[in-house]
Amino acid sequence: MEFATSSDPIVNLAFWTGIAVIFIIIFMVLYVLALRYMLIRDERRRKLFMDTWRPILIRSLESIPDVLPSVKKKDWPVLFNLWNHFHESLRGSAKDSLNEVARKAGMLEVADRLLKKSKVKSRLAAITTLGLLREKSAWDEIKNAAVDDHPSVSLAAMKALIRIDEERAMPFIIPLISARTDWPPARVASILHEASPHVICAALANAILHSPAPYIPRLIRYFETIACDSSTVVLRQVIEKFPSDTVIAACLHAFKSPDALDIVRKNLTHSAWHVRVQAVRALGRMGLIYDKYILITMLCDQQWWVRYRAAQALSSLPSISTAALEKIKDEQTDRYAKDILVQVIAEKKMA
C-alpha cells in the first residue's frame, strides 16, 4: 500500500477519494441488484396472489364462499386494487356480493389502517374501497384525505365522499374544487359526474354566485360540462355581479341557449379580444340568420382569432351555403376579411 503511506498530500487525497468512490460504487451496484431481486420477487408473489383471488371474486358473484383464504400484510394493497377494479366494472346487485366478500375478508378494518399509512398507493386503494362500500363510518378520515396536498389522494377522497353521501359532500368539496388549481380539470369534471345532476347543479350555481371572482371562470367550466338546465339564468346573474373580462368570456363560452343572444351581441364590441372571440363563437352556435350581418362586420376585426371565429360562425349559421359564403367573400373590400373567408371556405369544402 504505497499510496496509503505516501507523504504527498495530492496523492493521499486522490487515493482516499478513489477508495471511497470504489466502496460507494460497490454498495450502489449491490443495492441496484437487490432492488431488482425484490422487484422480481414481488411480481411473482403478486401474480400468485391474483391467481388465487381472481377466481374467488368471480365465483362470489354467484355465491359467497364460506371460507376465504387468509391475506398476508404485504398482499392487502393487491387485494384492494383487484377488488376495486372488479367493483368498478360491475353494475347493480352484483356489487352487493362483492361488498359482502370485502366485509368478510376484513377489508374494512384493514382500509382504516391503510388510510393512516404514508404510502400513497395504499391510501388510494383504501379510500377508493371505502367509497365503493359507501362506508359512512370512514367519513371523517376521508374528509381529512380530501384536503391532502397530494392531488391523487385528495381527488380520490373527493370521489369517495360523493359516493358515500353526495348532498353532505357538496358544501365541503365545492370550495375545494374552486381553490385546488393543481387538480386536473378533466379529472374533477369526471368526478363531479358521479353526483346526481340536480345536486351538483344547485351546488355549483350557488358557488358561482357566491365565490370570489378569480374562482368563477373555473367553476363556470364545470357548470358547462354538467349541462345544467338553469345555466343561462345563473350565468346572466354572474355577468351582472362580476363584469370582468375573464368572467364574461367564460360565460359566453358556456351559453348554449338563444335566450342569451342579447348578451352575446352586446359583447361583440368588447374591448378585450378574447371576449370578442367567445362572443362570435357563441353567435355561431346560437345565432339567427340575420346575425350574419353582424358577423360580416367582425371579419374585419384587428385580431386574427376574432376574424377566424367570425368566419367559422358565419359558415355555421343556418342556411349559409358555400355559395353564399363565396358571395360574401367577393363582396368584401377588406383584404383580411377576404383571406380568412378563403380559408374557412376551403376548410368547409374539405370537411
Binding site: 496523492v11 487525497l13 460507494i24 451496484v29 441496484v32 422480481i40 400513497v120 393543481d182 386536473p184 380539470p185
Partner: protein, 470 residues
C-alpha cells in the same frame, strides 16, 4: 515560482476541478433522488385523461420540422396521428428539403393546397405553400424556403392554432401517452411556460408502427455508451435542476411551450445551432428580468425515444454541434449570470453550466494532456498519475452507477438483470477512452464556436435497423 511549484499547483487545480465537478453532479443526483421519489408517488398512480372531458384539456399544436427526411417522415407522422390526446393538431414544416420529403407527405397523407390566412407573428423565410390533409383534419404541412430548424419552428409557431406547442424531431419515437405526460405541469401549475420530457435511446429496442414495442440493448458499443450518457444527462443532469426552477435545457427532440410566452421573447433564434437550449435560457432571462412568476419543468417519464449515431463520424459531428449550441446559448444570454433577479438559474445553474459544461472540455483535455506529459517526462510520480486517473474515472463510474440507481427506483426501462450487468460494464468501459474522446470533440465544438462557423441542419446517418413497418 519554480517549475515544480507550477506543476504542483496544476496538479491541485486539475484534481480539485475533477472532484468539484463530480461533487456538483453528485449533489444534483441527490436532488434528483428526492424529486424522483416524490414524482413516482404522485404520478405513478394516475389514470389516463378522460376523453369525455376533452374540452377541459389544453389543446396542443405539435410542430415537426423536416429536412431531407423522405425515408422516415411518413412513419413518424403516422405515429403522431395515433397519440392519445383529446385535441391536438400536427404541423409538419418542410424546410426546403432537397429530397422527396414533400412528395412523400403529399402522397401518404393526401395533401391538398390550403389557402390559410397565415399570420406572420415571427419573421421567417417565405412560406411557399400550406397543405391540408384531406384524410386527417388535424394534419397540415407547410412547405417553406430553407432557413434552418429554428426558422422552420418559427413558421410552425406562426401557423399554430393552439396555446401550447410541442416541438419534436421528425425522427423521434413517442409513446402514445407522451403528450398527456408532458402537458401535466401546465395543468398542475398555470405559470408553467415550458416542460420537457426524458429522451432515451431507441437503438436495440423494437419499434413497430412508429411506437416502441420492445426494450433492449444495442450491440453497437457507441450506442451502448450513449445509453449510459443519456441516463446520466436526463435522470439527474436535468431532473436535479427542475425543482429549483433552474432547468437550462429542454431537448429539441421533445418539449412543450406556452406559445404566447415564446412569441413574446421573439421565438427561436435562427442564427444559433442550439436553438432549443437558447430558447430556454432566453425564457429564463426575460421572465426573470420582468419579474414574471414562471416555471420551466422537467418530466422524468421516458416518453421520447431517439436513434443514437452508431459511427464515430456522425457522433463526432453531433457532439461538436451540441457543444457549439451550448456555448452560443450561454454566450447570448450572458446577462443572466449573477444577475440581480437571476435566482437559482442565474446564481447556480448558469455558473455550473459555464464552468463544467461550457469551459469543461478545455480544462478536461488540458488536464489529461498535462498529467500524461508530466508523467512521461517524470515531473509527477506514477502514484500521482494513478491517483489522478482513479479520481477522474472512478467518479465518472460513480455518476453512471448512481444513474442506474435512479433508474431502478423509478422506471425499470431495461427489463432483464442481464441488461443491468451489461450497462454496469459499459459504465466502467466508457471512462477508458470514450469520455476523453467526447471531451476532445467538445473542445472542437468550442473552437468552431470561437471561429463563428455557420451552423446548419444536423444531418445524421440513420440506420433504423430496429424499425418494423406496421
Amino acid at each position: 515560482m519554480t517549475l515544480s511549484d507550477i506543476i504542483l499547483m496544476s496538479q491541485w487545480f486539475f484534481l480539485l476541478y475533477f472532484i468539484g465537478m463530480n461533487l456538483g453532479y453528485i449533489l444534483l443526483n441527490v436532488m434528483s433522488f428526492f424529486t424522483l421519489t416524490r414524482y413516482m408517488q404522485e404520478h405513478g398512480t394516475e389514470e389516463g385523461l378522460s376523453q369525455e372531458y376533452a374540452d377541459l384539456q389544453l389543446p396542443i399544436s405539435v410542430l415537426s420540422p423536416a429536412y431531407n427526411e423522405e425515408a422516415t417522415v411518413a412513419a413518424s407522422i403516422r405515429s403522431l396521428l395515433q397519440l392519445n390526446y383529446p385535441e391536438y393538431e400536427i404541423i409538419v414544416i418542410n424546410d426546403g428539403s432537397k429530397d422527396k420529403t414533400l412528395e412523400v407527405l403529399i402522397q401518404e397523407f393526401s395533401l391538398a393546397p390550403f389557402p390559410e390566412a397565415y399570420r406572420v407573428r415571427l419573421q421567417t423565410k417565405p412560406v411557399k405553400t400550406i397543405y391540408q390533409s384531406t384524410v386527417y383534419p388535424n394534419l397540415r404541412v407547410i412547405d417553406k424556403e430553407n432557413g434552418g430548424k429554428a426558422d422552420a419552428l418559427n413558421v410552425g409557431i406562426n401557423s399554430a392554432r393552439y396555446p401550447l406547442f410541442c416541438c419534436i424531431d421528425a425522427d423521434s419515437i413517442l409513446q402514445r401517452d407522451s403528450l398527456e405526460k408532458v402537458v401535466q405541469p401546465f395543468l398542475e401549475d398555470p405559470t408553467t411556460v415550458a416542460s420537457g420530457g426524458t429522451v432515451r435511446i431507441a437503438n436495440g429496442c423494437e419499434v413497430s408502427g412508429g411506437f416502441l414495442v420492445g426494450r433492449g440493448l444495442p450491440s453497437n458499443p457507441l450506442a451502448l455508451f450513449q445509453i449510459v450518457e443519456y441516463m446520466r444527462a436526463f435522470l439527474f443532469g436535468r431532473l436535479g435542476w427542475s425543482p429549483l426552477n433552474a432547468l437550462l435545457i429542454i431537448s429539441g427532440a421533445f418539449g412543450v411551450f406556452n406559445k404566447e410566452k415564446v412569441i413574446s421573447v421573439g421565438g427561436y433564434l435562427t442564427n444559433t445551432i442550439g436553438e432549443d437550449m437558447e430558447l430556454v435560457v432566453r425564457l429564463h432571462r426575460h421572465l426573470r428580468q420582468q419579474g414574471v412568476p414562471y416555471r420551466i419543468t422537467f418530466v422524468p417519464d421516458p416518453i421520447c425515444w431517439t436513434e443514437a449515431p452508431e459511427d464515430l463520424k456522425t457522433l463526432k459531428s453531433q457532439r461538436v454541434r451540441w457543444q457549439r449550441g451550448l456555448a452560443e446559448s450561454l454566450a447570448k444570454n450572458f446577462d443572466l449570470l449573477f444577475s440581480r433577479k437571476g435566482g437559482a438559474v442565474g446564481w447556480l445553474a448558469f455558473p455550473f453550466m459555464m464552468i463544467f459544461e461550457w469551459l469543461g472540455p478545455i480544462i478536461e483535455v488540458i488536464g489529461y494532456a498535462f498529467m500524461t506529459v508530466a508523467f512521461i517526462f517524470g515531473m509527477i510520480s506514477g502514484q500521482a498519475m494513478v491517483a489522478f486517473l482513479i479520481v477522474a474515472m472512478g467518479l465518472g463510474v460513480l455518476l453512471s452507477v448512481s444513474a442506474f440507481l435512479l433508474e431502478e427506483i423509478s422506471f425499470h426501462i431495461y427489463p432483464k438483470p442481464k441488461h443491468i450487468l451489461i450497462l454496469f460494464l459499459v459504465a466502467i468501459a466508457e471512462n477508458f477512452g470514450y469520455r476523453q474522446l467526447n471531451s476532445v470533440w467538445r473542445l472542437m465544438g468550442l473552437y468552431h464556436w470561437a471561429r463563428g462557423k455557420k451552423g446548419h441542419w444536423g444531418e445524421m446517418t440513420r440506420k433504423a435497423s430496429w424499425q418494423k413497418t406496421g
